[in-house]
Assembly symmetry: none
Homo-oligomer: 376 residues x 2
Amino acid sequence: MPTVFPLAELRRSSAPVSVIDTIIKGDCVAALEALPDNSVDMIFADPPYNLQLGGTLHRPDQSKVDAVDDAWDQFASFELYDAFTRAWLLACRRVLKPTGTIWVIGSYHNIFRVGATLQDLNFWILNDIVWRKTNPMPNFKGRRFQNAHETMIWASPDPKAKGYTFNYDAMKAANDDVQMRSDWLFPICSGGERLKGDDGKKVHPTQKPEALLARILMSSTKPGDVVLDPFFGSGTTGAVAKRLGRHFVGIEREQDYIDAAAARIAAVEPLGKTELTVMTGKKSEPRVAFNVLVENGMIKPGQVLSDAKRRHSAIVRADGTLTANGEAGSIHRLGAKVQGLDACNGWTFWHFDDGTSLRPIDELRTVVRNTMARLD
Amino acid sequence: MPTVFPLAELRRSSAPVSVIDTIIKGDCVAALEALPDNSVDMIFADPPYNLQLGGTLHRPDQSKVDAVDDAWDQFASFELYDAFTRAWLLACRRVLKPTGTIWVIGSYHNIFRVGATLQDLNFWILNDIVWRKTNPMPNFKGRRFQNAHETMIWASPDPKAKGYTFNYDAMKAANDDVQMRSDWLFPICSGGERLKGDDGKKVHPTQKPEALLARILMSSTKPGDVVLDPFFGSGTTGAVAKRLGRHFVGIEREQDYIDAAAARIAAVEPLGKTELTVMTGKKSEPRVAFNVLVENGMIKPGQVLSDAKRRHSAIVRADGTLTANGEAGSIHRLGAKVQGLDACNGWTFWHFDDGTSLRPIDELRTVVRNTMARLD
DNA sequence: GCTGTGTATGAATCTTAGC
DNA sequence: CGCTAAGATTCATACACAG
């Protein structure tokens, strides 16, 4: 079980107290200020996102969405949020080694402010990384695009900083021998990995998946490095660090989160040296929408598609839908409609004329898939 | 060939000069200030990225990478870049209709500053969209992740702004009948689409793919809308707008870009009305009161309605309301009440017995709508 | 044990017309 | 402007339970 340090005790201590592999209980900035200069190799920070939610949101079945409405996520203004961001980033920079790097995760609600503040404080952005979620929550009201990703910024503490850790070859090897890209695909944290209380409810509203942290740690730290998480929450950073043979320092205010994290980390079994392979993200058969063929010019708006025996035909519209006999819909919906069926696989039903013969549009999808094969 | 307006001439003009489907030559902010208030439906902006490149970058074979080192991309400091960003965003907001939206594209070099400035100016972010590149440039030095995406911010001019255009149903139908996500996959602009000069060199260093602009315009504008691009460059926005039956206004300083864009747009053939029609959902259909079904005799007073599984039932009254268990109300209110919910769509909840099976009353509404449509 | 069905849920800035 | 009422709206997973 990792030690928990009340911040007051850490301050009182005259001798240097090792905080390695412990959770410091207290305010993030105050705790950071109690740590020595240049003492950590990497920082992963998952700060409050400052979501500005209106009323309650219901799913189409009228069930209520359990929103993030915790007090710690509320800020009265952007100015206050920016001041908070400046304060913890400055405190982070002091404890970070010159060869270290910092990761910050956020959404469009806060990440632009975080990124601008990082630049204002003379951090040097190395990459912005997109976490694409395989299973994001839908947009229930249909008024926006489905918010299907979060953004991480990876930065070094100074534009002139040299010698930061980036395990390029490990990343490349883990990615079918091509360079690891800036867009990563992972499921959200759910199922058995998601910490639940005795009441069966989630312990923390924004627990991050271990696979995400594993890729971060494998890419930008070495075994034995010290990883600091100033917003420790349910302790994902600590659990993954321990499993991967890294040390951690967590900072957290709420006792409930600390208790859950400490128990969680205690149960982690570190991997042996030979097992320290990089976790790979989710691979899946690329799903190609018909619209991709239109957008790429393989099928043109106005073009006529027909079934294999030319009994039915339809016209392609610019939005990637088809129209025929005054009806319209996706390739599947309209294929079903013209046949009077409930369902239809539009990919095999609809054909295009290549000048010589009718060919199923599925052939074009295969072409697209082959060019996208590595991209999930 | 689209008309080109020297800004000086536009200002001299005492009569209102229509700038629709023209390229205004001049400084971005000055040109915007010459346009009327609330006059454009959508803005797409591809501002300078403020890339801070060090020396010359070489590929592993020692060939030189043709970097973006144009004078227009250079800013002495973040402060200057922010001031520039504020100026053009403020000018954009004035010409944008309250129901309009703005798209801005950038990379990690500038997008955080743009996003924070948008928020500071009280724009309301609707989504951040990730353009995942199928064929990004590799990271030649192997010191970072491959920078494989750019970020777009989609925002409305005010948090309270309502009525912006989002063609949700068209996006969903185009995407195999599931919601369009915030991560989009497109190739970079290359091959025949890439404008080349007589010397065979690319005309513009950051020409965007037409497919990207097509999805943007299809998602957030209607045919006939006016789309403004304050950094017109090689005119991708104008070319796609013309093809998709939208109007454009371009602003550009450099004569070489204007010449290339004007010729390019002149060659574009607009699509016809059929191809430009997009999928719409129930939201856009005329409202039909339930009472109309009763008045038309499709539903009779005293008739029993029930839900799909016959768990709840209600009796139709002559005034078009329902009653059950001593309670009464509209089809929606009573549907909610019998289920103990806050809200309910009575059209899909309540069913009538056609002698064979239970059918939703929504089917009768469709019949009424089709009848109404024939009377237009 | 296996398969199919029904239900629950996740960092969410999530309606609009009409009076 | 504020209020009320109409009525539109979900994808991927995990899990419990039935057959």
